[in-house]
């Protein structure tokens, strides 16, 4: 990788201030996307600001009806929170492998906005709110496009607020090598209605209104049987064609509904 200057920030304020004072900086969270990217010389930041020592990013809190998870909380830590939102814990436990989950963080994942990442599906599927050092952003507005979010230059994700669903589940068809989602679908019956969020299929996570309307009438897998999303604009790579991905969206959504109905996700916070 190209050379850079390294800083270890002790607080959110210090991290943001450092970011503003460097020429072309980047935040370093778990580093499990950033460091491989640097190793391939696909990026050349002048400075890396390590967030690993900022305790304020590692808190979790359960309030009435919602789970707030700090941006610096690792995937394995979320995977162990199965008592709160099991669908979210299950999703976190399926990211990468055990060692990746010991380093990768919630904030790092969503700030990167990989089109095949799992967390964006949970954020949009649960109607989460992304909290930054300066504002709150609805997850529906946070993920903009391929590797593009609503974050401004230097803006730092500090936590995510996940409302507890009545029922929810995530199912993904993983790439057998990377475990990234070829297609992943998060289905949730929330206090504000049905939400179906799809990752892996398009440039960015997206909702499927037809499926949400069908589930509002009948929360069963059969309600989705005849709904097929258009393949226009879906990802096309060596792993799967747009046609195949469109097919998988319906299959994964149906499986998610089956799992949501079978799970104990009705537990209220």
């Amino acid at each position: 990788m190209y050379a850079f200057r390294y800083h270890r920030a002790g607080s959110i304020d210090e991290a943001v201030r450092l970011h503003g004072s460097c020429e072309d900086p980047g935040y370093l969270a778990g580093g499990h996307t950033l460091l491989p990217t640097l190793k391939m010389r696909l990026a050349q930041p002048s400075d890396l600001i390590d967030l690993g020592d900022i305790d304020a990013l590692k808190h979790t809190a359960t309030t009435s009806g919602a789970l707030t998870i700090g941006a610096g909380v690792r995937h394995n830590d979320v995977a162990r929170m199965s008592h709160s939102i099991p669908a979210l814990a299950g999703l976190a436990g399926g990211i990468g492998d055990f060692q990746v989950r010991n380093r990768g963080t919630l904030g790092g994942s969503i700030a990167n906005a990989d089109p095949a990442a799992d967390y964006p599906a949970a954020c949009v599927g649960l109607g989460a709110t992304v909290v930054t050092d300066r504002r709150q952003i609805a997850a529906d507005d946070f993920f903009v496009d391929l590797f593009e979010t609503a974050l401004e230059e230097g803006e730092l994700v500090t936590s995510v607020i996940f409302p507890a669903p009545r029922r929810a589940a995530y199912m993904k068809f993983p790439n057998p090598a990377s475990r990234y989602a070829i297609v992943g679908v998060f289905v949730a019956w929330t206090d504000s209605g049905m939400r179906v969020a799809v990752t892996g299929a398009g440039a960015s996570v997206f909702r499927v209104a037809d499926m949400e309307a069908a589930l509002a009438r009948d929360f069963s897998p059969d309600a989705l049987a005849d709904i097929r999303i258009p393949e226009d604009g879906l990802n096309n790579d060596i792993h799967a064609t747009p046609d195949y991905r469109a097919h998988l969206v319906t299959v994964m959504a149906r499986r998610a509904v089956v799992r949501a109905n079978a799970s104990s996700d009705g537990v209220r916070l």
Binding site: Y6, G31, H32, L35, P36, K39, F98, Q99, N102, R103
Partner: protein, 159 residues
């Protein structure tokens, strides 16, 4: 730019000079000359470089040495008690849990983290846990058997 990085490695305070972009695995192997930790793929997939950082198994090819500064690192060299092998090492020895041996350090460090969280895993749980550790000899069967045997040996009240 060169920097001096200090950390606790296998219970000893160690320091060395490296670059800010130096990976932890490179620091361990080339600066501290602890070559038991291997580099297989260098892309955070194969698990040959697994070490423990503050008690958690991690891939040392995807962490900067400077990120580990001031922290506690355990490598494969740090688990035996003098000439007495760690039970996990002994189990790999007795169950022929290695063929060429290249993946073995990572397998052992990864398996120890499994038993920390799940002292008596099922075969399915062992296989799931090894998702990030590749054996290109495909010797998984005896690796899984070794870890199960180690779990028995390390169980409270057992040998």
């Amino acid at each position: 730019m060169t920097i001096t990085v200090s950390m606790t490695v296998n219970g000893e305070e160690r320091s060395g000079v490296c670059e800010e972009r130096t990976l932890l695995v490179t620091f361990l192997r080339e600066t501290l000359r602890l070559t038991g930790t291997h580099v297989g793929c260098d892309t955070s997939q194969c698990g040959a470089c697994v070490v423990h950082l503050d008690g958690d198994s991690v891939k040392a090819c995807t962490i900067l040495a400077v990120q580990a500064a001031g922290r506690d690192v355990t490598t494969i060299e740090g688990i035996a008690d003098g000439d007495t092998l760690h039970p996990m090492q002994q189990a790999f020895h007795e169950n022929h849990g290695l063929q060429c041996g290249f993946c073995t350090p990572g397998m052992i460090m990864s398996a120890l983290d499994l038993l920390k969280h799940n002292p008596s895993p099922t075969e399915r749980e062992i296989r799931d846990h090894l998702e990030g550790n590749f054996c290109r000899c495909t010797g998984y069967h005896n690796i899984v058997r070794s870890i199960a045997a180690a779990a028995d040996m390390m169980a409270p009240g057992e040998g």
